[in-house]
């Protein structure tokens, strides 16, 4: 299976991601402590990203987290996209907290 480079703009890190593998699983394989992996199945929304360049294929993802318009403009759940070219992306949503040390969207802002 071809592999593609996925570049995370927020942290200037990149990793190789197999075409058969979701971008989130690729990030998980980075082994970076704190990557907030949620359901891995497109339902919880914690892995929301914005792809700023490159091509990918998607699987159905929760409309509670990514609207059709957002999806058309490059927003996606990282667990539901697979790269078909190299990608550049920005991390959105509650994932920012742990990937980028951004406390505005803390993963534990619940209670």
């Amino acid at each position: 299976m071809p592999r593609h480079r996925v570049f995370i703009e927020d942290t200037q890190e990149s990793f190789a991601c197999d075409e058969a593998q979701s971008v989130l699983l690729g990030m998980e394989a980075l082994g970076r402590k704190g990557i907030p992996v949620g359901c891995r199945n497109g339902g919880c929304g914690v892995c929301k990203v914005e792809v700023t360049s490159g091509q990918y294929v998607t699987r159905v993802m929760s409309r509670a987290h990514v609207s059709a318009e957002e999806e058309a403009s490059g927003r996606a759940l990282a667990c539901r996209i697979r790269p078909t070219t190299d990608l550049r992306l920005r991390v959105l949503g509650s994932m920012r907290a742990t990937v980028c040390g951004d406390t505005r969207a803390s993963a534990t802002d619940a209670p």
Binding site: G34, P36, V37, G38, C39, R40, N41, G42, G43, C44, V46, R59, V60, M61, S62, R63, A64, H65, S94, T98, A107, T108, D109, A110, P111
Partner: protein
């Protein structure tokens, strides 16, 4: 003690992003039995040892989560009484006609303070557990996948869990079994309530968004079968959140994992039996890690933030 009002959790209606994929997962991997499909396309499932026609209903939708959680009550008179009490309490109720859900009688549906839809019903066709009622064998031989005994409870997330607790206690006669306090020592972060002899039939965690699902749980017989469930999850590359481990709260052994739409499920075994003369157990904020995950002794970030 007699259990004669609300008997037990009876159904969880879950949303599926890809219905075929979910049905495959729930039947082949979790090992529930498909018992029917209705005109609107909902798929009905039951665990092998459940007698009633369904305990899990899957509905194709564009988002994950829980449509509603239903409790079976003793009989029609109890249903009417509880509906009356809900109204007296100021809760508006709606009657969903019999047959709207396959093999299920009229349901009394209402919204609780955290925004979740709860249903009560008295009638659901008994299709049996396959063993019969006369001189039965010990278990059904035709089981697939993890094959839990039953759908057991749910953990829901939302804002006003105090309002929820009062409604469940004052109107539906549930009892508080365990609670976790926040740092201030007074506010409940979470509560576990029972309507039966179980350590919990429903639990709730305070959260900034209403109407969220943390997990729907399925009961296994032994710790050994919890390990076997984890093996089956790995064989099928199921997304696991936590475990196998033990909860300090309720003392159940557990695995948290996700269905193909990202809804968290649990398979668990054990825990204690509750009796009405037991005092509620309180956990303090500094011990919340051990309360939730008895061995790790700390929360994973997903516990408080990953919901559908």
């Amino acid at each position: 003690m007699a259990i004669n009002g609300v008997l037990r959790p009876g159904h969880a209606v879950l949303r599926a992003l890809d219905l075929d994929e979910s049905v495959h997962f729930y039947t082949e991997v979790l090992g529930l039995q498909e018992t029917g499909r209705d005109k609107s396309g909902r798929v009905y499932l039951k665990a092998w040892d459940e007698r009633d026609h369904n305990s899990v209903v899957l509905r194709q939708a564009d988002r994950a989560g829980l449509d509603c959680f239903g409790f079976k009550v003793l009989n029609d008179a109890t249903l009417n009484t509880l509906e009356g009490r809900l109204r007296e309490y100021g809760v508006s109720t709606e009657r969903v006609p019999a047959g709207d859900m396959l093999e299920t009688g009229e349901r009394v549906r209402f919204q609780i303070p955290t925004g979740h839809l709860i249903e009560l019903y008295a009638q659901k066709t008994s299709v049996g557990n396959g063993l019969g009622d006369l001189n039965p064998e010990a278990w059904a031989p035709n089981q697939k996948g993890i094959s839990p005994l039953r759908m057991d409870h749910a953990l829901i997330y939302g804002g006003d869990i105090d309002g929820n607790r009062r409604l469940f206690e004052d109107v539906l006669e549930f009892t508080l079994v365990e609670r976790v306090k926040l740092e201030d020592g007074t506010t409940d972060l979470a509560t576990w309530l029972t309507c039966s002899n179980k350590a919990h039939d429903i639990a709730m965690v305070r959260h900034h968004e209403d109407a969220k699902l943390h997990h729907v749980s399925f009961m296994l017989e032994t710790w050994e079968s919890v390990l076997r469930a984890a093996d089956i999850m790995s064989m099928n590359r199921v997304s696991i959140d936590m475990g196998p481990t033990r909860h300090g709260i309720t003392r159940g052994t557990t695995i948290y994992f996700f269905d193909p739409s990202g809804n968290r499920l649990e398979t668990f075994s054990g825990g204690y039996q509750w009796y009405p003369d037991q005092n509620p157990i309180t956990w303090t904020w500094d011990e919340v890690g051990r309360a939730i995950y008895y061995h790790d002794r700390k929360l994973n970030p997903a516990f408080l933030s990953v919901v559908t």
